[in-house]
C-alpha cells in the first residue's frame, strides 16, 4: 500500500505546470515584450490579491465548507485602513489591527457555520452583502485616496533592484506557510479528515468547531493582508473594492484540484492554478482580448475544473481492466 502511494504521481500539478508553460509560450508569440524578467515579475501582481484570498479559501474548502464573503472582507479591510490613514496612524499599528478586524469578520462566519451549524454557502452569501454594506456604511460612498506612502509600500514597492514586487514575496511566504500548515501539521490533517468524514473526525476526537473557526479566522486575516496589498496597488479604498473578484478566487481553488466537498487537494495545486490563471489573464491582456471574453474564458475554466472529477471517474472506469491486470502481475 505504501509503495503504491509513493508511486502516485501528482498528475494534476504536472498538468498545471504544462498548462502554465503552454500559456506562457502562447503569450510570448503575442508580444515581443512578454519574455522579459521585468514583465514576468510585474505581471504576477495581477493575481497576488485574489491569490491571498484563494490561500485562505483553500483552507476552508479543505473541510468542505466555503467562504464567498472574502472579497467583501477585503473591502472592510481597505476601508478600515483608510480610517487609520486619515487618523495619521503608522502602518505598523494599522496593519495588525486591520488584519485582526478582518480575522474577526472570519470568526463571525466561522461561529455561524461551525458552532451554529448553519450552511456555509448561505451564511457567507449573507455576510458577503452585509460586510460590503458595512464597508460602505463606515467608509461612505466617496472613496478615500489620500494614503500616505508607508501604506502603499507593500503593494507597490519592488525589491532586489526594482524587479521583484514586495507583494510577490509576501504571497510566496504566505503560500509556503499555508502549504506547511495544511500538509505538514496536525491541524492540516484534521482539516482534511473533517472534509473526508465529519462524523468520523468528531468520533476520533477532532475539535471540529475549533478547527473550522480557526480556518475562517485565517481566511479573514488573509483577506486583511490582501487589503493592505490592494491599497498599494490601487491606492483607493471604497466599499466596492474587489467586487466580483470572488469568481477568480473560487476558480483558482477549484482548478487547483481542491475538492469542493472537502478532504482532497493540495496547496501547491492552488498556487499553480493561480500562476496559470495569472498567465492566461496576462496573455489575454497582451492579445487585446476584452474583459467580457476574459470572463467567459474564466467561466469555462471553472466549469472545466469542476467537471474534472467526473472526467477522472470516467477515465478510471475505462482504465480499470488494465489496472487490475497490472495488480495481478
Amino acid at each position: 500500500m505504501a509503495s503504491r502511494a509513493k508511486r502516485q504521481w501528482p498528475f494534476w500539478e504536472i498538468a498545471l505546470v504544462v498548462a502554465i508553460f503552454a500559456a506562457g509560450a502562447w503569450s510570448s508569440t503575442l508580444s515581443p515584450y512578454y519574455l522579459s524578467v521585468d514583465q514576468l515579475f510585474s505581471s504576477t501582481r495581477a493575481f497576488i490579491i485574489p491569490g491571498l484570498l484563494a490561500l485562505g479559501l483553500a483552507v476552508v474548502v479543505s473541510f468542505g465548507e466555503i467562504d464567498i464573503s472574502l472579497a467583501s472582507t477585503l473591502a472592510v479591510g481597505t476601508v478600515a485602513l483608510s480610517k487609520f490613514s486619515a487618523a495619521g496612524a503608522p502602518l505598523s499599528v494599522a496593519a495588525p489591527i486591520v488584519v485582526l478586524i478582518c480575522g474577526v469578520c472570519g470568526v463571525f462566519n466561522g461561529v455561524l457555520v461551525a458552532k451554529w451549524r448553519l450552511p456555509s454557502l448561505a451564511v457567507t452569501l449573507g455576510t458577503m452583502g452585509a460586510f460590503r454594506g458595512l464597508a460602505f456604511i463606515v467608509g461612505s460612498e466617496v472613496g478615500y485616496t489620500d494614503f500616505n506612502d508607508a501604506y502603499s509600500w507593500l503593494g507597490s514597492e519592488y525589491l532586489f533592484g526594482g524587479v521583484v514586487p514586495a507583494s510577490l514575496i509576501l504571497f510566496a511566504v504566505a503560500a509556503i506557510a499555508v502549504w506547511f500548515l495544511m500538509h505538514r501539521t496536525i491541524y492540516g490533517r484534521r482539516c482534511f479528515s473533517i472534509g473526508l468524514n465529519p462524523d468520523a473526525a468528531w468520533f476520533a476526537g477532532v475539535g471540529v468547531i475549533g478547527v473550522k473557526i480557526a480556518a475562517y479566522a485565517l481566511a479573514g486575516a488573509f483577506a486583511g493582508l490582501a487589503a493592505i496589498v490592494w491599497i498599494g496597488q490601487y491606492g483607493s479604498a471604497r466599499g466596492d473594492n474587489a467586487d466580483g473578484s470572488i469568481l477568480f478566487v473560487v476558480t483558482a481553488v477549484v482548478l487547483g484540484g481542491m475538492d469542493i466537498n472537502g478532504g482532497r487537494g493540495t496547496i501547491s495545486g492552488v498556487a499553480l492554478a493561480l500562476f496559470l490563471l495569472g498567465t492566461i489573464r496576462n496573455g489575454m491582456g497582451l492579445a487585446n482580448i476584452g474583459g467580457p471574453t476574459q470572463t467567459v474564458v474564466l467561466g469555462l475554466l471553472l466549469v472545466g475544473g469542476v467537471l474534472r472529477p467526473a472526467f477522472a471517474a470516467a477515465l478510471a472506469r475505462l482504465r480499470r481492466p488494465v489496472e487490475s491486470a497490472d495488480a495481478g502481475a
Binding site: 466555503i66 454557502l121 452569501l125 449573507g126 460590503r132 456604511i137 469542493i260 467580457p292 466549469v303
Partner: protein, 341 residues
C-alpha cells in the same frame, strides 16, 4: 433511537403535525414580519401606506417574486443557482434585440423567445449539476460569468433603447386591470401556477423528495438526476419570464440588466422560509420574501436612507433567516428525539 419499537411508531403522528405546524409557522412568520414592517414604515412616513405607494411596492416586488420562485424550485432540490441574474439578463437582451431588429414582431414571439432561451440556459445548468455531478455553487458560478460574458460579447457594449422595441411591449406591463398593474397579476399567476405544480403534481412532489432526503428518494426509485435537471430547466424558464418582464418594465435593456439578482432572489427565497438545505419551503413563501425585500427597499427610499444600507440589511436578513431556519430544524429534531451530530 436505538430501539425502534412500536411506541416510537405511535409517536410518529404528532411529530408530523408538529413539522407541518412549524412550516406553517414559518410562512405565518413572514406575513407577520411583513405587517410589522408595513406598520413601522407607515408610522415613520405617512406616504408609505398610500394606495399609490403600495402599488409601487407590489410592482417592484412582482419581478423579484418570479425570480425568487425560480430560485426556490432549485433550492428545494438542495441545490443552488447563482446564474439567475445572468440568465435573466441574457434572455432579456436577446429578446429585446430580436424585437428591435424585426419590426413586425408578434407578441407570441416576444413571449416564446425568452422562455425558450431561459429554459435552454437552465438546462445547461441542469446538465452540469445533475449529470456532470458538479457542485451547484461552482457550476452556476461558472455559467453566471459565461452567460453574462456572452451578453457583453453579443451586445458589443450597445444597449437596446426603449425607442427601438415595439410600443405595445412596454405599455402592456404598465396596463392596469381593475386598478391592479398587469405586472402584479402576471407574477401572481406565475407563482400560483408553480406553487400548484409543486403541490399537486408527481414531479413537483419528487422535487421535494429529492431535496429532503436524496438517499431515501434513491431507494424509492426516483431518478434524482432527472428531477434536478428538470428543476434547473424550470428555474431557467422562470428566469426567462422574469427577464422579459424586467426588459418590458425598464424599456432600455442594458448588458448589466438584473446583475446581482442572484443574491436578491436567494435572499427573498431564504427570508420566505425556503431552506437552503433542501426539501422545505414553498414558492409562495419565496414570493412573500420578495415582497418583504421590496417593502424594505421602498421604505428605506422614503426615509432617505442611503442606498448601501440596503446591501447590509439584505445580507443581514439572509443570515438571520438562515439562523431562524436552523433553530426551527433544531426544535423539530429535539422534539422528535433525533440525535444532534
Amino acid at each position: 433511537m436505538s430501539n425502534p419499537s412500536t411506541p416510537a411508531l405511535a409517536e410518529a403522528a404528532p411529530t408530523r403535525n408538529l413539522v407541518q405546524f412549524a412550516l406553517r409557522l414559518r410562512e405565518a412568520g413572514v406575513v407577520a414580519f411583513l405587517v410589522l414592517l408595513g406598520l413601522a414604515f407607515g408610522l415613520l412616513n405617512d406616504r408609505f401606506l398610500s394606495v399609490q405607494n403600495l402599488t409601487i411596492v407590489a410592482s417592484s416586488a412582482a419581478i423579484l417574486a418570479i425570480a425568487a420562485c425560480a430560485q426556490a424550485v432549485v433550492l428545494i432540490t438542495r441545490n443552488l443557482d447563482v446564474s439567475v441574474g445572468s440568465m435573466m439578463g441574457l434572455a432579456a437582451y436577446l429578446t429585446a434585440d430580436w424585437a428591435a431588429n424585426h419590426p413586425g414582431v408578434t407578441p407570441v414571439e416576444v413571449v416564446v423567445i425568452p422562455l425558450a432561451i431561459g429554459a435552454a440556459l437552465g438546462a445547461v445548468n441542469g446538465l452540469l449539476v445533475a449529470y456532470g455531478k458538479a457542485p451547484a455553487l461552482i457550476a452556476t458560478l461558472g455559467t453566471m460569468s459565461l452567460y453574462r460574458g456572452f451578453t457583453y460579447i453579443y451586445a458589443h457594449g450597445q444597449e437596446v433603447t426603449s425607442s427601438r422595441v415595439p410600443r405595445w411591449m412596454l405599455t402592456s406591463v404598465d396596463a392596469r386591470i381593475a386598478g391592479v398593474p398587469a405586472l402584479v397579476l402576471v407574477a401572481i399567476a406565475v407563482v400560483a401556477a408553480v406553487a400548484w405544480f409543486l403541490y399537486a403534481y408527481p414531479l413537483g412532489r419528487r422535487i421535494y423528495a429529492v431535496g429532503s432526503n436524496a438517499l431515501a428518494a434513491w431507494f424509492f426509485g426516483l431518478r434524482s438526476e432527472r428531477v434536478v435537471f428538470f428543476a434547473y430547466t424550470l428555474c431557467g424558464l422562470l428566469c426567462g419570464v422574469a427577464g422579459l418582464l424586467y426588459a418590458a418594465r425598464v424599456g432600455t435593456v442594458t448588458v448589466v440588466l438584473a446583475s446581482g439578482w442572484e443574491m436578491s432572489s436567494l435572499a427573498a427565497a431564504v427570508i420566505g422560509g425556503v431552506s437552503v438545505s433542501g426539501g422545505s419551503g414553498t414558492v409562495v413563501g419565496a414570493a412573500l420574501g420578495a415582497l418583504v425585500l421590496a417593502t424594505i427597499d421602498n421604505g428605506l427610499v422614503l426615509l432617505h436612507v442611503p442606498e448601501f444600507w440596503r446591501m447590509f440589511i439584505q445580507g443581514a436578513a439572509i443570515v438571520a433567516a438562515v439562523a431562524v431556519d436552523a433553530l426551527i430544524a433544531e426544535a423539530i429534531r429535539r422534539s422528535t428525539g433525533g440525535r444532534r451530530r
